[in-house]
């Protein structure tokens, strides 16, 4: 018997990249109801996706993330040095 798992794993990744066709959606949905390994794979990918999304968002809006004084000073020095060179 041939298993759909390998193909399903590609579709599960593609779901995050493109709209699946109706046929792909149906085949995947039916498979997930009968295959716990692939259902776990789906949940694993969802968890990772949620993690990456959350991490990007958190760092982009966190007002506590600022340049340290040392970093500012270092950058100021670099800008000054550059302006005297050119």
């Amino acid at each position: 018997m041939n298993h759909f798992c390998k193909e399903a794993s590609q579709l599960q990744s593609d779901k995050f990249e493109r709209d699946l066709t109706l046929m792909e959606k149906i085949r995947l949905r039916i498979h997930l109801t009968i295959c716990s390994a692939c259902k776990n794979y789906a949940d694993n990918l969802k968890l990772l996706n949620g993690f990456f999304h959350g991490r990007r968002k958190a760092a982009g809006i966190d007002e506590n993330i600022t340049l340290s004084e040392q970093d500012r000073e270092r950058i100021r020095e670099a800008l000054k040095k550059d302006s005297t060179n050119s």
Binding site: H3, S13, E17, N40, N44, F52, G60, I65, L67, I75
Partner: protein, 190 residues
């Protein structure tokens, strides 16, 4: 443009933190993020004559920073992967000939919020990403770590969207297996 507008120290004062946060949201590394801000301001200052003035200075600076970040990722990965020429396909190792899983994925009991707060998880994750072959690593990093959309990555990496989907699929398979082995699986799952 006035002389004042082209003052990089003023850019640092007004937009430094914003640029730094932007870089942090893509790179998650403090030292690297501040380096990127510095490089951006230096490049911006050199290229000031090219600034058309039809966008805000902040937008212009972010545009430069974005390029710096992508350049950095590509260079960084390339430097570490000089010897590795082959693009491995993990599907042959993870699936049996009949298309079934060799090791069935298990259920993971953690949630994204807790994982975001765990430095240890982030270290394990990065180690798993670092193990991916070069192309998979570049596109996966741009896609999930930096958060670029598919079109931009295809253009940047000069590949078709079909090829991109295959690379990202392979990266996800390998990464998931690596994380199950090194983080979610075994003794941690009590």
């Amino acid at each position: 443009m006035t002389k004042e507008a082209s003052n990089p120290e003023l850019w640092l004062k007004d937009h430094g933190d914003y640029l730094y946060r932007y870089a942090m949201s893509k790179l998650h590394d403090e030292e690297l993020a501040s380096d990127m801000v510095q490089e951006t301001l230096l490049a911006a200052w050199k290229g000031w004559d090219n600034f058309a003035g039809n966008s805000a200075v902040k937008t212009w600076l972010v545009g430069i920073l974005k390029h710096k970040i992508i350049d950095h990722i590509r260079k960084e990965i390339r430097n570490r992967k000089l010897t590795e020429a082959v693009e491995t396909d993990p599907t042959s190792a993870l699936f049996n000939a009949d298309g079934s899983w060799v090791d069935a994925p298990r259920s993971w009991k953690e949630n994204p919020e807790d994982l975001c707060g765990s430095d240890q998880f982030q270290k394990v994750l990065q180690a798993c990403i670092d193990k991916l072959p070069e192309k998979q690593q570049v596109v996966f990093t741009m896609r999930e770590v930096v958060g670029e959309d598919s079109d931009a990555i295809c253009k940047e990496a000069e590949i078709t969207s079909t090829h991109l989907h295959v690379l990202i699929h392979r990266a996800r398979l390998a990464l998931r297996a690596c994380l199950e082995f090194n983080w979610f699986g075994g003794e941690r799952q009590s």
